[in-house]
């Protein structure tokens, strides 16, 4: 079955070459970072997590988002999603792999990463995160691969795999809940200390993950004989829309609590993210353009998703999906993690700007994830097209 990944069009190979290019640059930069230390990045004593952890957080969501096609298929016997469950599972594999790579890239002592297992510490949320992420990776590899391989052989999949498929559903919720708990349980970081953190993570995940999945599905429809079908596409649109609405509602709740209660600790970070904070004579606001752009883009994308003429027309739907994905990426992959460090526990304002090397490593990890997704999707599509003809 693997040989399917080795035969492809010119576009396919060009895409692979581009990804490999980014990966190479990323590896070179990572070697530099490895030799110098994490000072290679823009992080500092005050902003001690940067784009790596932010990407990790966002991508856990993308991985969990895959469950939005798996769940209806297995729990509600929604057959229309039968053609894309494997894609959802393979997307999760790519996303979780990126998560693990981002964590490794962020460790000061990556060679000691196994200490988390050698000295298991059940009071640390990071310990659980490690377990659930690796478990989710394993479950998706099993489910995706078994189903696809049976299809390749032309036989029904063995029954035992269903146990793993059912298990993967609550597991998907757990990965993003535990990731939210990394943040939501820390005293003294008011921006993160909110009970809606986990629900909000899940809502934005169930919008961002399926958005990416649908985007890829449309690309596949244009370039291959693989079509997920209009019904499935419509259903995905509905899921994305309502998940995004829920997320926006929860963001609104955050704003209400902060500004109506008028408690400085709760307002300061939002002030910084959306308006900028004055410290002395200097206004610190380097995230303001991103956050405003993200908010406006998100609202526009949600409104457009409600219009039937947008959903029915791929050429209109694609930019809306991109807008949705980008806006959620900025919200979580930039604002949420970086915002938590402003102000510092001593109420200083320290800003963070990633370095070029840090960005190139980040792109390298994304490219690796996309390479995995590309190869897995290529195999899937070829197998499915082969079976259907």
């Amino acid at each position: 079955m693997l040989e399917k990944a080795l035969k492809g069009s010119k576009t396919y190979w060009t895409w692979i070459a581009v990804l490999l290019g980014f990966i190479t640059v990323g590896v070179i930069c990572y070697i530099q970072q490895f030799n110098y230390g994490l000072g290679y990045t823009g992080m500092s004593r005050d902003v001690s997590w940067g784009v790596y952890i932010a990407q990790f957080t966002f991508l856990v969501g993308v991985a969990a988002g895959g469950v939005m096609v798996v769940l209806p298929y297995y729990l509600h016997d929604y057959k229309t999603f039968g053609r894309i469950t494997v894609l959802g599972e393979f997307l999760a594999i790519g996303a979780v792999t990126m998560c693990l790579m981002f964590i490794l890239a962020d460790l000061g002592q990556p060679m000691r990463a196994l200490n988390v297992l050698l000295h298991p510490t059940p009071n640390s949320m990071l310990f659980y995160d490690m377990i659930v992420l690796n478990g989710y990776l394993f479950l998706n590899i099993i489910c995706g691969w078994v189903v696809l391989h049976s299809e390749y052989k032309g036989a029904p999949p063995p029954k035992w795999y269903k146990i793993f498929a059912y298990l993967s559903i609550p597991w998907a919720f757990s990965i993003h809940t535990v990731t939210a708990f990394l943040y939501a349980g820390l005293p003294g970081r008011d921006f993160w200390l909110t009970a809606v953190m986990a629900p909000r993570f899940l809502a934005s995940a169930f919008a961002a993950g399926p958005s990416l999945l649908l985007l890829i599905a449309i690309i596949l429809k244009r370039n291959t004989k693989f079509d997920i079908g209009e019904v499935a596409q419509n259903k995905l649109c509905t899921i994305i829309t309502y998940a995004a609405v829920t997320n926006l509602f929860l963001v609104g709740c955050e704003f209400f609590t902060a500004y109506y209660s008028n408690i400085p600790g709760h307002m300061l970070t939002l002030d910084y993210l959306f308006w900028g904070i004055k410290e002395g004579t200097e206004v610190k606001n380097n995230l303001v353009p991103f956050m405003r752009f993200s908010m406006i883009l998100n609202i526009i994308a949600i409104i457009l998703m409600f219009l039937p003429q947008v959903r029915k027309d791929d050429s209109k739907l694609v930019p809306v999906l991109i807008a949705m994905f980008v806006s959620l990426w900025i919200d979580k992959g930039v604002g949420l993690v970086l915002g938590g460090f402003v102000p510092t526990p001593l109420e200083h304002i320290t800003e963070y700007t990633p370095t070029l090397g840090e960005i190139l490593i980040t792109l390298g990890v994304w490219a690796t994830g996309f390479l995995i997704i590309t190869l897995l999707f290529k195999i899937t599509v070829d197998v499915k097209v082969m079976r259907e003809n």
Partner: protein
Amino acid sequence: MDMKRRDFLKIAGLTAIAGIGAPTAFSRLLKGEVDGGAAYASGGEGAAADSNRVRLGMVIDVKKFNQYKGLAQKCIDACHQIHNVPDYGNKKDEIKWLWQERYENAFPEHSHYRRNEELEKMYFLVSCNHCDNPPCVRACPTQATFKMKNGIVAMDYHRCIGCRFCMAACPYGARSFNWRDPRGRSADGRPFIAHVNPDFPTRMRGVVEKCNFCVERLAEGLPPKCVEVASPVKAMIFGDLNDPNSEISRILRSRFTIQRKPALGTHPSLFYLI
């Protein structure tokens, strides 16, 4: 230093090194006088209040530090020197165990309109609070940050994976990360550690560090370095919070002190005499 105090420090230090509780050793000092006087008295590991155990703490007399200008800086320099804390000369890579902050930064929730002018001008020494209920210990996935039975929150630099979860978790900004090799030199050849103290380990890049309450000195029966430097004017008082007869307990009982961010339930072991 009188004999009793030296004894106390030695025992405290031994328990610090051995990492074991010392109810037997301390029962001598306590002489059975265990009252429930010390609030939140516990011996560590976030265990329920247990006034039979040692809980080390410190009182910082802010007035004295502002009276004797330059003393705070001397404490800081001494601490950083004996602990091989590197100086990179920039804020981004900065590592600090003990430093000074203004009132509004040390006690951000206390800020209010028209504060006492003297207070406005004051600086406060801040470092790790050796919290009795430390969020950093809760967050650490490898137990590289752990609580000793005498209340000290200590670090194992050889186990730390550099995930910096503890830095996000500490509500006092007490922790620093080695963003680069502290044993190295700057571009113009200046070593980051001016004079290496061979009696204390230097760290490697990629690990977190912070004030360790001078556990290595306690083991030798010496008080923490900053306390020693401040001792001529008694600007810092160090001792067992659980011993009702200790000097620190007497001060806490008789004078008004404040803690940093008490509302968070971390139970800091550092107290400020204003």
